[in-house]
Symmetry: C2
Subunit: 230 residues, 2 copies
DNA sequence: CTCCGCAATGATGTATCCAATCGACCATCG
DNA sequence: CGATGGTCGATTGGATACATCATTGCGGAG
């Protein structure tokens, strides 16, 4: 586990260019490409393409695909091929409900470990988001904001689970962000500041409530935009 | 995903003896062996052993190990080997805290779909557990009881996540069960009957509370027996 | 006697090759 | 003209062979 390339949260993955890490290296790069939106959900992934592109044989590619399949980023069908995972509205809704329940828990683990300087940084990120120019910048800041809230505690399963959920829903979060911006919805920023405030006061229960509400509100917005899932 | 062999919950995996499923077949059998306790946590797993035992080459074995690693049942170290995953007390505690938050959610999804006959079956299982003779029988009944509570709703991520957590903690649940029985602790059965009762009344909130308390109580017992983790 | 270093051994990681399977196109029949 | 069957191409799955790395045991130096 913990093979996810998350510079913000995992200090591991120092130099994966040694022997015995070709699969992991390919997985890392493919994961980044998918999260960056270079591959759309449903896009076909050909083993030989990846192999050529990374100067490796198809074997490590297959391992990489297995890893990403386990993370929910890729869908594998035997004897047929691999596609970038695509979510139904029901599945995405499920993921948000899970997040709504466990991210507050992860936050609770972390708040006592966040220094005043850490909280200042969170505040800065929240402000930068309000002034963010385009969708990609907002997405990156939003991800950094939330994952920074979770970076201090040395949890394993909980953090990995949350990361997997974030990664799996990344593409759809991109789509929602576009909608929110076009509708001029500013609640997101309000909630971020409420969250920072609760964290600063070490108010665990209130921080949990705000975060759960933050996620729930986004989930309820999903139902209003089923077109995102085709 | 959904490659876990769970006869109670997944009706899939019809005949995986075709081409393109060797890895999945090996993973299924190895998973069952680990869950049955045939491999202890920390036990070394040699690729060639498995290959010979299943009449396959090492390649599908590696795929199987990757799958089980993703499920948290196996720990892989590059250029070194594979071991049956072992949990620290902190990790196990984390898993129980996650279960405490999301299993009630999964239960909530299911209760409206459980027929009176289903509830009767749950009641029967709870009774059988009280009269169970040995640890293995109790473990099997307990697993069937809880997973039956979750079998009806067509959730994907949520059910898979819960299953993964159950599988990862299986070995330690076996150890706790031994402790509970030696101490004559009967609270488990009381809680099971309370849960059945709440389900029968379609009382979602009460069922959630009972289930969360059930899991929480077990988690708090963990702290009293750190010796299980060596 | 203990500790460090080296070499042999065993296991894992990777590349190449061959077989099995799936999808698409085309021909044929109803 | 539409549907069904077969064949061909492309792609994936698996086995064998070789390169690489980690570990273990032995030997020598301190």
């Amino acid at each position: 586990m913990n093979t996810m390339a998350q510079p913000e949260m995992s200090a591991a993955t120092p130099e994966p260019l040694a022997h015995g890490a070709a699969g992991a290296r390919i997985a890392t790069r493919l994961r980044e490409a998918i999260l960056a939106g270079e591959y759309a959900p449903g896009a076909r992934i050909r083993q030989e393409d990846l192999a050529d592109r990374h100067g490796a044989s198809r074997l490590p590619v297959r391992e990489a695909l297995r890893m990403l399949e386990a993370e929910g980023l890729v869908t594998l069908v035997a004897n047929t091929g691999a596609w970038v995972a695509r979510l139904s509205h029901a599945e995405c809704d499920e993921m948000y409900q899970i997040r709504e329940r466990i991210e507050p828990l992860l936050l609770r683990y972390n708040i006592p470990l966040l220094s005043p300087a850490d909280v200042d940084e969170l505040d800065r990120l929240a402000g930068a988001m309000e002034r963010s120019a385009d969708v990609e910048e907002f997405l990156a800041l939003d991800r950094e904001f939330h994952l920074s809230c979770y970076a201090k505690a040395e949890t394993t399963v909980l953090r990995d689970t949350v990361l997997r959920l974030w990664n799996s829903t990344q593409h759809y979060r991109r789509a929602f962000t576009r909608v929110f911006r076009s509708e001029g919805d500013l609640s997101v920023h309000h909630e971020h500041h409420l969250l920072v405030s609760a964290i600063r006061r070490d108010d665990l229960d209130e921080a949990e409530r705000v975060l759960a509400g933050h996620i729930r509100r986004t989930r309820l917005e999903l139902a209003r935009h089923p077109d995102v899932f085709e």
